[in-house]
Structure formats: structure tokens, C-alpha cells
Subunit: 217 residues, 6 copies
């Protein structure tokens, strides 16, 4: 099953089925329980974690945007920028110009545990951004990146650099690299099993009988 | 007025006007003040309460989905499944397969005081779901139904089996059966009264004068 | 620059760029950090504050709607009705009939720090309403206006009668009258500067270099 | 049982046993579920509701403290001042000087759904104050009383002028006047029943058997 | 070190030092981040988990208190009753009579993720209760136990039957049985190391130097 | 009035009267509206701000405690350590050993916008600590200081190095240095005025009359 590429995942997988696969492998806490909503696109975002760790501040930043720009400029193909900001709504941590620059580096989307701005423009260019909400404030002197490319957490769920991430309207799931192959394969099978159950129910079988027969819901 | 069928209500009534009718009858607490949003459809959902009571759990469920499936399979025409889950966001309590199965039994929608999953697919099939938000997690071993067909509460508002429910983007209203006929009739009249006021204001009357003349806003 | 009319602002400005201009002038707290979402329209709302101050109540109002109707009927061209209600979700403070009446007076939108109702109808007539959420309850005997045309606050941000307000999906910004001319001019310039940076990044410059060169993000 | 005076209640009753009595009479929502803590005294506060309704404000009050002082000065013996302020923490709604003045009028305590100040001094004089917390801010131009001697609500529980109130460290209970005699009598009996169960359990009976035998817990 | 009895732990250990020991062993999430406060006693509570799982309800309970009483009556020496109630404040889940009955069975304290009542009486008898707060409501028909002696979670931290628990004013820590011996030994050593650092700082060493020298804080 | 030393302030002033003085000078937002409670002492804490800015983290800290220890070791007489941690409850940011070390440097107390640990021991040594709550977790690899001796904010209120701070059970007030002399003098006078009003009310004057006569409450 080594041939399930990111492209194939984008076409066939979604957050719920990946959660089910992770459950089966005993990994039951891989999705943050915070409302990170898709603000700019619909559809499934699949990629690999490019992590940034943020702090709040209220004094003058001596080196504004420094690490944030470094993270953006060092993105590689299929990266998803992760902003671990502890849910800060102090300012828009992400916006249009960063989206444009990140995309140029190969970045395919952003997951911001905090606020973003420029929603209209990011929607116009179709850059996928998941966030808690919006703020028109510039992040300068309000929030800053204090570390990049380190393991971070959102709501107690760990996102390590390079981890596979699947995000859609149902939520965000991260797959640790050690179990990625198994998880993707299990998800792939669950997609098939669900189709079988769906057909059975559509064909008149009760939900109770369908679960009894197929063991899947 | 016994001839105001559910079909007619779906065409003419909406949550706000039913609240106004209930106010008039002295029933002032019939709409939960929690953000149960329509996640899959627009429009008004009208039906009768099919209640389920949920609990959180974290150990292995000996009889997974049992009462939940029983509730789904025992729905009747015009039922709206009510999940009283105390706002639990631990998992997706409702999803695509349950929607498909419930609809087959005549169920016309679901109101979930908690999270749901499979929003894209439930939107595709047009099944109305009101919920607090989303979670990609399976409910198995996370949440379970502990009772069905009993009176339940959401945010202190009581939903009894068979009660009339009207839900739309403004909110969710439940009408106790003892006053259903009176409430529906009063709502029907309020719809008419609002049209009169709207025409008066559109015709140039001030809001102050319109309220003075018609006593309605 | 005295020729930047409200019309021109509506065409070219947006909340984020106005925040940046206010930052530059040292006014760093001009946008409430509460999720006042555009519920009925997209686009930018620009106008001048027409303020109302609200209180919760639970007894019978001796003069229902009195000051609320007075505020609506005394709106002038380009007014934006501001409801400072401390985030009350007890009832729908604003709705269709008030929108219709206010618009007749020249009011161009409403910003409600609380709940509203009649979202479908207000969307149909295209009246811009920003609010925390919805409630189907009538405000009568639940919330009332206790003062109009006084300075009010939303989340610690002051809105004085006549202040310029700019609201869109990113958030809401209020510009004190004493610095309005300077703020609008600075915002105007920032719009231009951002275009330059956008072009540079689109043309292949790194984000780091673009910020170094232009000093803007 | 008409001879159960407030004095006797102060000696023998407490909030939990009064809740149990109200449950028995079918009044199951007579205690607000907000943490109104006794900040200045221990012990049970028993009295009759003297109600005030509060609003937040941020502009200059033309008649500072007016209704608040009127309420304080019109208290009568055994009154408990109730401040329905929707949980406002904007300022200290109650403090030492008001306590001193109210006590002089016969007022025996205060229940503030918001913040208070002067906790050290009110503790020193032994005036019972239940509140959500503290704030060193003066209420002037921050909060004001907009009505007195009207029915008010705290967390959806109604407090009408003259209602009996029992407050202690477990919580606050209000007894509607129409059922006061029955409720007090039922509470009186429950006190006795609990003593019996306590003795049985202390004497070696299991909790299961004690509940089976006495039907009380 | 097999001779560190519960009695010795009660004398020498406390929650913070046990957390440090667990950190050292790589168990970094063994203390719920919810304010479970000691409401009736000061001091350290040490014992073994006796678990109960709770659900909210609003209809008439057919078998009131059943599993709750069974749990209380089946406690053994050194048990600490754990009520996993998802933070429910609907009623007092624990109170004086249950404390008296549980103590008779050997139970040494209770940890309630929800509200309790009878604080004054439980304080008088010196029964240790940690809880989120108080409620004067009886739990009957409001909350019930749905399972006992199963693994439960409070704020994502797992409490399995028989696990060692240490609770004091700083917080609550649970030690999985598989690592109990190692954790207790490491805590024991940390107590000693902290004494050394304390003496060094008291003797004039800077905090920086003390940490450099001893590697402990 | 230059002779009002910190010692005299400790004897005569308190947070509420300083807030009133600041109100009079037009500084109306000098007290954070978050429940920073005195956890270890009663009484008034008066001193000068020694600021630290904190961030959350979840990876291995390369230089554990570094800036935190530097801050502690560089305290001077009458300093109050301020931890601006955005309300983080991830770990105990402050504890016994830091208290001991800081006190040795002259530090007279700590204000922590987050959690602390070792409450029993800090109480035993009488070191004043104001905090949001407690956590038994070590801060290492959970929270770290990212800057010291910079202006910081707690709940939007600015604390600059060297600012005067007054903290007691009512709350925490910070006095900007530019207006310190005026504020202290105004507070001093308000203490006197309150005594006059207190005497008048105790002597039988109504609260209404007392406010009319003295203009103070």
C-alpha cells in the first residue's frame, strides 16, 4: 500500500475516516477539540506539518516578523503551516501576503490556533486556512513566533514537523509518522467498508442489522 | 384552525413567530440559548421530538451504539431526532449513516446538543442537522445513548417525546403538546400582523407610529 | 485628502488596513475582540455610529421598545446603528422590521453586541447586520434600550456618536473623530503599499526580503 | 406550622434541605447555578428579597448612585438586597458604606450577581455578602441601578420582592411566596428525616439499606 | 523501596513532587487541569481510586441512587471515591450522608468532577472532598451514576480502579499502577533534593547557581 | 506629599481607594478584570513592578528556567514580580524555591497571571502570591519566560517596570509612574473622606443624604 500518495489521499480520504483508522490502532487523541474552521475554502487539506510556536506580547518587537517570515520562506512542497498560538485572538496571525509567499514555497495551507485576517482575499486566491476566527489587527507587537520546526501542541494534540495532517470541515487530524503507513491503509479500508454499509442501509437494512452484520458505522 | 398541518407550518411558520406566540400564551422559555446551528441545510425544520439522552464515557462500551441504533430504527414519519448530550464535543454523535438510516424511517431532521461529523455528505443528501459544531471522532467508547423516548432538556428547555419542534437559522423552539393548537394558531395570526406592519413601514410610517397603531413589532 | 468620501472608503478600504493606519497613529485598541460576524451580507460596511445602550430585564416593560424605536426613527443618512448590549443573548435585539424602518431613515447597517433574529429576511433585503449570534425571542420584557446617542463600549472599545466605523468579515474598527482625517489618509497609503509588496512577492521575492525592502506586511 | 419564624429558620434550615422541600413540591429550579460565594461571613443568611436591577454603562452618569441609594435607604427589617446584574464584573457593585447604610435600615445581607469591593471591611463588621467575586473599581459610570422593587432573575431563577431567600456556602435558594408555608414545613420535616438516616448509617446500616428503609438521602 | 506505605506517603509526599517524578518517567499528563479544590479539609489526600461514571438527566429516575449507593457500600480501606461527571454543576453529587456511609466502608476521601453539597457538615466531620464547587440541589433526577469500577477520565486524565491518587491544594495527581513503584521512589528522592536546594538558597546561593549545581527547582 | 513612603502606603492604602483616585485623574482602566486571588497571605501588597513575559511550550527547553532565574536573581528591594502569562494554567509558574530566592533579593511578592504551586509552603513562609489558581506541574518544558524587564499586560492593563502596584483581596491596581505622586495623594485624601462619610452614616444619616453632602461613596 506504499503507493497511496498525498494526491490519492486528497481524493479519497477525509478527517473522520482517518480518525476511525487511528482509533483502531489505539491512537485516540489525534484531533484537537477546538473549533478550527475552514475560513477560505471547502474541501480536504492534506499535507505535512511545518510548525511554528507563537507567544503574545505587548511591547515593541525588536525583530518584527523575523521567525514567522523565516518559516514561510523555508516551506517546502506539500507543507501545511501550523501556528500553535494557544488560541490567541490578539491579532491576525496569518493573512494574504503570508499566504501568497508561503504558496510560492510550496505550502498548501495553514492551520492557525488563533485569529487570521484578509479572509476575503485569501478566499479569492483559494488558499486553505483553518482558524479559530478573525481579527483585523496586525500581529506586529501583539504576537510573535518564538520557535519554528519544533514539536507543538494544539489542545493537547501533538503536531511534529513532517507529520501527516488531514483537515476538513469536520475537524483536523494529525497522524504520527511512526504509524502513518498503517493508519493510511486502515483508513483506505474503512472508506470501502462504509460504502458497503451505506449501500445496505439504502437497500432497506436497518441500522441495527447493518452494524451487526458489518461491525462498522 | 385544526387544519394547520405540519406541511402548512413548514411553508408559513418560522422560529421567531412561534416564540412570539408562545410569549403571548405565557410560555417564555421554549428556546435553548445555545448556538445550535443548521450545518447542512437552510430552511425551516418542523417535526415531532424523538428524544435520546446521551452520556460521555472513556472505557470500552460493551454494547456499542445499541440504544442509538434502536432510536434511529424506531423513528416514525415527521420525527426529529433530539440528542440531549449536554453540549458534549467529545465525538461526532451523529453522521451520514445514521442520517441515511433515520430518513428511511421517516425522520426529517436531527437536533444535536453536541458535535456531529460527515457534514459534507449530510449536506449532499440534504438531511437537516442542527448542532453545536463538528468532530471527526467516532462516538464509540466516547459517548453513548443511555435512554430513549424520555423527556430531555437542552439548556433547561424541556423536549418531550412527540412535542412539536420548529428550527431554523434564528434558533430552535419546542411547543408543549398541551398548548400546541393555541400556539400554532397564535403564530399564524402573528405572521399576518407582521405583514401589515411591514407594509405600513415600507409605506412611510415611522416604527414608533407603526408599533403604536398595531401593537406588534 | 479631504476628498476621501464614505463612498470611496466603501470601495477601497477594509478593516485590516484601517487597523494598521490606527496602529501607526498609536491607537492600538480600536477593534473589539468579540466575534461580531456579518450574518446577512458580505462586503464592507462603512458609516457613522448611531449609539444605543441596552440592559437586560425580566419584568414587564412599562414602555416597550420606546427608546429603541426612537433611535431607529432618528437615524440619519450613513448611520450605522450600534447596540451596546454587553453580549446579551437573551433575545433578538434587532430584526427585520427594525431593519426596514432604520433603512428608511438612511441607516446603512447595524452592529449588535448580542443576538438578532429574522436573519433570512434581513439577508433577503440585503441589510448588513453584524452580531454575536441569533435568538428567536422577541426583545420585549427581555432587553431594552436605556440610553441613546451616548458614548458606549463593546469589549472595552469606545464608540462615540458620529465616529467612523468600518466593518467586514475580519472585524469591526472604529475611528475616533479627532484623528479621522489622519487615519483615513494613512489607510489609503497602506492600501497602495500592500499592492507593491504583493506584486514583489508574486514576482518571486521572499517574504523576508519584501519586508526588509518595504517595511510593510 | 405558622410559627416557624425567620429566627427559627436561621437556626435550623439550610439551602440544601430547602431545595429538597421545593423539589417535593415540584419547584425544581429555585437556585441559580452560578458561584455566588459567601465572601464575608460563614453561616446561613435568611431574609426577604429587596430587589435591584442593574445595567452596565461607560458614559457619565447624570444621577450617580441615585436608585441604588434609594434602594438602600428604603430597606426594611429582614430584607436581603438582591442585585441582578447579569454577572457583571465591571466594578464593585456593593461595598462597605452601602453595607453600613443598609444594615441601619434593617437589611441583613446582600446577594450580588456581580462583583463587590471592601471585602476586608465588610468582613470586619460581619455583614453577609454573597457575590461572584471582587473588583476594586467604583461602580460610578460603570454600572447603575435602573429599577428597584421589581421581579428580577439570576441565571433564570426569579426573585420577586418579598420572597423568602436562604443562602449559605452550598448555594442560594429562593422560595416563592405562594408556596412559602408548605416549603418551610416540608424542609422542617426533612431536617428531622435526615437526622434519622444519619443515625442509622452511623449505627452501621449500609447506605443502600438506609435509603430503602427511609426513602431519603 | 517497597516499604513506602500509604501512611508514609501521606506524611512526606505532595502533588507537586509526584508530578515531577512522573515527568521524569515520561508521564506528563497525570493531573487534570480543572480547579478541583479541597472544600472541607486542608492536607494531603492519598489513596486508591474507586471510580464512578455519572450522567446528567432530567426525567424521573426509575432506580434513584442505585449505583451510587452500591459504589459507596463497596468501598474498601484507603479508597478515594472518584466521580467522573464531566464537570456537571446540575446538582450536589456528593454530600454528608454519602460521606458518612463511605467512611464507614474505609473510604478516605472523594474527588468530584462536579458540584457537592453539605460543605459545612462534611467539614465538621473532617471528610476530605475535592470538587469544582457547590450546589444545594439533590442529585436525584438530575445526575446519576451509570457505571462503577471502570476506567474514567477527568479532563482527559485517566483514573483506573486501584490507581494511586495524591491530592492537595495544588492539584490532583494519579499514578498508573504499572509505574507506581518507580514513581513513588522518584518522588521520595525529589523531596530530598528539594530540601538540599532550599538550604542552599537560604544559605545565600542565587537561584541560577542553585539550579546549575543541583539541576532541580 | 512626597513623604508618603511605601511603608505608609502599606499601612493606609488599599486597592479600592487607589482605583478611586485614578478614576479622578481620568485613568479608568488600571485594574485587570481577572480573578487574581491572594493564595498565601491576607493584607495589602505594595511594591514596584519587576516584569516577566511568559510563553507556553511543549517541546524540550534548551535553556530551562534561564530568564526566570535571571529575573528572580535580579530583583531589588520592594519589587513585586509580575508574570504576564496570558492566564496560562499549563503548569505552576511560581513556587516555593523561587519565592525563597526572590525574597532574598528584596522581592516582596508575586502577581502571576496563571497558575502557581507549593501553596502550603509559600503560605508557611508568608510570601504574598496573587494568582489565577494552582497546578502541581513543573513549568519546565511547559511554560518559559521569553522576556524580562519589558512593559507587559494582564487583561489589557499595562504593567511597566518600576510602576507602583497595590494588591489586596479586592483586586490589583497599577499606577503609572507619571501620575504616581498625584494618585497617591488623591488616594490619601479619599481615605479621609470615606472616614467622614462612614461616621455620618453610622451617626444616622441616610446614604442618599451622605452622598449629597460629601459627594463620595
Amino acid at each position: 500500500m506504499a503507493d497511496i500518495t498525498l494526491s490519492k489521499m486528497r481524493e479519497h480520504l477525509y478527517s473522520a475516516v482517518v480518525c476511525d483508522a487511528l482509533d483502531k490502532l489505539g491512537f485516540k487523541n489525534q484531533s484537537p477539540r477546538v473549533p478550527l474552521r475552514p475560513l477560505t475554502t471547502s474541501g480536504v487539506l492534506v499535507g505535512r506539518c511545518k510548525t511554528t510556536l507563537w507567544a503574545e506580547m505587548t511591547h515593541e518587537d525588536q525583530r518584527p516578523y523575523e521567525l514567522e517570515l523565516k518559516a514561510v520562506d523555508s516551506c517546502r512542497a506539500d507543507d501545511v503551516l501550523i501556528a500553535a498560538a494557544a488560541g490567541s485572538m490578539r491579532s491576525g496571525l496569518w493573512g494574504e501576503l503570508l499566504s501568497t509567499a508561503a504558496r510560492r514555497s510550496g505550502c498548501v495551507g495553514a492551520v492557525i490556533d488563533g485569529a487570521v485576517r484578509d479572509v476575503v482575499k485569501m478566499t479569492a486566491v483559494g488558499f486553505p486556512v483553518f482558524a479559530l476566527g478573525t481579527s483585523p489587527y496586525d500581529s506586529r507587537d501583539r504576537n510573535r513566533v518564538i520557535d519554528i520546526d519544533v514539536p507543538v501542541e494544539i489542545d493537547g494534540v501533538r503536531f511534529s514537523p513532517g507529520d501527516l495532517i488531514i483537515a476538513d470541515i469536520d475537524g483536523i487530524v494529525v497522524v504520527p509518522q511512526a504509524i502513518e503507513a498503517d493508519a493510511v491503509e486502515a483508513a483506505w479500508e474503512k472508506v470501502h467498508a462504509e460504502n458497503t454499509v451505506r449501500d445496505a442501509i439504502a437497500g432497506g437494512m436497518t441500522a441495527t442489522d447493518a452494524f451487526k452484520k458489518y461491525g462498522v458505522l
